[in-house]
């Protein structure tokens, strides 16, 4: 299955390319764009990224495998992230992590069979003063209680 960027995304990559003196520097933006379009980064996607930027495939691989926000397998439509670092832990972060795992019957980095949900225990998200917190895809939910978490999870359709 080959992967091709949409016209629109090619334009966005071109924009990113202009920010830097080298094409390699646009790789992080480009991987994000690819992940947005394809859901995850496969070998084909990496080849296309290398091709579009005119860089070596090894460079793409090295970045994709270093940064935790790039996924090499398909995550759920709703990727639920729970922070359990100290400030969150002090305010119930682990209870919420257990709650989220139990709710979906999933363990860390697992995706539900219907592809709707995946869960991840994450490091400090920079929301320590609004702990505990979870993030669903790109959105932060802060100052949570178990009830509020339940409500948020139930609202994900």
């Amino acid at each position: 299955m080959s992967f091709k960027f949409t016209e629109e995304n090619l334009k966005r990559i071109e924009q990113s390319r202009k920010k830097y003196p080298t094409a390699l520097a646009a790789v992080m933006d480009t991987v994000y764009i690819a992940q947005e379009q394809n859901g995850y980064i496969s070998t084909e996607v990496m080849a296309e990224i290398a091709d579009v930027l005119g860089i070596d495939k090894v460079n793409v691989l090295s970045v994709v495998t270093f940064y935790t926000m790039y996924h090499t397998k398909l995550m759920g439509k709703y990727h639920v992230q729970v922070c359990t670092n100290v400030s969150c832990m002090l305010r119930g972060g682990y209870e919420i992590w257990e709650q989220v795992k139990n709710k979906f019957g999933l363990d860390n980095m697992q995706t539900s069979a219907d592809g709707k949900f995946s869960v991840e225990e994450v490091e400090c998200m920079g929301a320590c003063g609004f702990a505990p917190m979870i993030a669903v895809n790109e959105d932060f939910y802060e100052n949570l209680t178990k009830e509020k978490v339940e409500e948020i999870l139930d609202s994900l359709k």
């Binding site: 390699l24 520097a25 992080m28 935790t68 400030s87 920079g126 320590c128 003063g129 609004f130």
Partner: protein, 440 residues
């Protein structure tokens, strides 16, 4: 107390509101000065970096070579991934144009034509807000070529937002530069320092978001004014993020040198349930923790905290009440540093693994007193023996937590996990007489 970085002005993130409140007046003033003059003023203001090391900002700028055929760069560190830190995002959200104004002044002063604002990837929302602010600045002529016309000068600079993708280590300056170049975020061996060889081998200055946001008021109101605010050796206001066991966690901008107890009890409303404090980490998770009985009289500036046995770091204050299990806290911290070690140096890669493993063993009830000494030993072997300061960041909490709370950790290794509150907690606040009255 005057707020400099996050003034109490509604909708300041709107450029029209910003302009109506002296927005970009500092830049106008700065562009009439020589670059040496600006650097000198920033130096004399006493401004010190808010990213952790509290290094003189003016001095750092003066390291940039004056004559070079290479392009120069400015890098704005908004990686903000140290557990306990959540202050820079307030600037992205509430005062992005003051940051942008600081950037163009800094670029002018050091002769940089391009600035990158590096924002951690998890801050999707704040990346977008900042991107929008940068676009607006371009449209209105406060960034890019249009600056020439706006300010009537023969200088302009470009500003770009670079989004990280989940790696604490990219907050370390040389790692961040690799990340911007499209490489893995591996820290580089120093020297050479960024001012000699930074981004793409060119002279680069890197400053924290909050540091740069302080620059416009310094230029506009003068370095004398700034140098008189708060603690003399570390002047200005500081954004303190207070989290953990307090009634009103959040970010508070106060004068440097404010009492730690004032921040905890007055600003953050004290500890829920009137509980006593067992431990406070005053500057983000990598800084040495203080015992409850070490808090009284501690002032929040770099020098005072050093004297108190800790460090200011990023100003992330984590408060733990008397019922906190410090083994759990330390284990969680060590897990973090092990996870975030980039793996380049053996002492850090192996050492952080050992720290986590040994603490886990204690947690599982299989620890001995010697394990505590082993932990301190491993920490000492990491400290100072690594390419970047993540090694120290991993070592300090272990070393100081165990040393300062040895009796508590001794109980964990003896399996008596429920311990009575020793007299090392911060207990003054529960007395009938308010503390202020006691002091007078």
């Amino acid at each position: 107390m005057e707020r400099i970085v996050l003034p109490e002005i509604e909708n300041l993130h709107d450029i029209n509101v910003y302009l109506a409140n002296n927005g970009f007046e500092a830049a106008r003033k700065a562009f009439k000065l020589s670059t040496d003059d600006i650097i000198d003023q920033v130096k004399k203001s006493g401004l010190r970096g808010r990213g952790g090391a509290a290094f003189s900002t003016g001095l750092k700028w003066s390291f940039m070579p004056k004559t070079t055929d290479k392009p120069k760069y400015l890098c704005i560190n908004g990686d903000e991934s140290e557990p306990g830190s959540f202050k820079d995002r307030q600037i992205f959200e509430y005062n992005p144009f003051q940051l942008i104004e600081g950037i163009i002044i800094a670029c002018y002063a050091i002769g940089a034509k391009t600035a990158y604002i590096y924002i951690r990837g998890e801050y999707h929302r704040w990346v977008k807000l900042m991107q929008k602010a940068v676009e607006t600045a371009y449209e209105k002529g406060f960034a890019g070529e249009k600056m020439k016309e706006t300010f009537g000068i023969d200088f302009f600079c470009d500003i770009h937002v670079h989004k990280g993708a989940g790696a604490y280590i990219c907050g370390e300056e040389s790692s961040q530069m690799n990340s911007i170049e499209g490489l893995r975020g591996y820290p580089r061996v120093k020297p050479p320092f960024p001012a000699q060889r930074g981004l793409w081998g060119c002279p680069t200055t890197i400053n924290n978001v909050e540091t740069i946001t302080n620059v416009p008021p310094i230029i506009l109101k003068g370095w004398e004014w700034f140098s008189k605010i708060g603690a003399q050796r570390h002047p200005g206001t500081i954004l303190f993020g207070i989290s953990g066991h307090v009634n009103r966690p959040g970010v508070y901008e106060v004068n440097s040198g404010t009492l730690l107890t004032e921040l905890i009890y007055d600003y953050a409303g004290g500890v829920p349930g009137q509980k006593k404090i067992k431990c406070v980490i005053p500057g983000g998770s990598s800084m040495p923790p203080l015992r409850g009985d070490q808090l009284e009289g501690v002032r929040m500036d770099a020098e005072s905290l050093k004297e108190a046995g800790s460090a200011i770091g990023t100003g992330g204050i984590m408060v733990m009440d008397e019922d906190t299990n410090l083994l759990d806290v330390l284990l969680r911290i060590s897990k973090f540093y092990h996870h975030e070690s980039c793996g380049q140096c053996t002492p850090c890669r192996e050492g952080t693994g050992w720290l986590e493993k040994t603490l886990k063993r204690i947690k599982n009830g299989q620890g001995t007193s010697q394990d505590l000494d082993l932990l301190i030993d491993v920490a000492n072997n990491i400290e100072g023996n690594t390419i970047c300061a993540l090694g120290d960041a991993a070592a300090w909490p272990v070393k100081f937590m165990i040393t300062r709370f040895r009796d508590e950790f001794e109980k964990y290794v003896n399996n008596e996990v429920s311990l009575p509150v020793a007299n090392k907690v911060h207990s003054m606040r529960n007395s009938e007489v308010p503390l202020a009255a006691v002091k007078k």
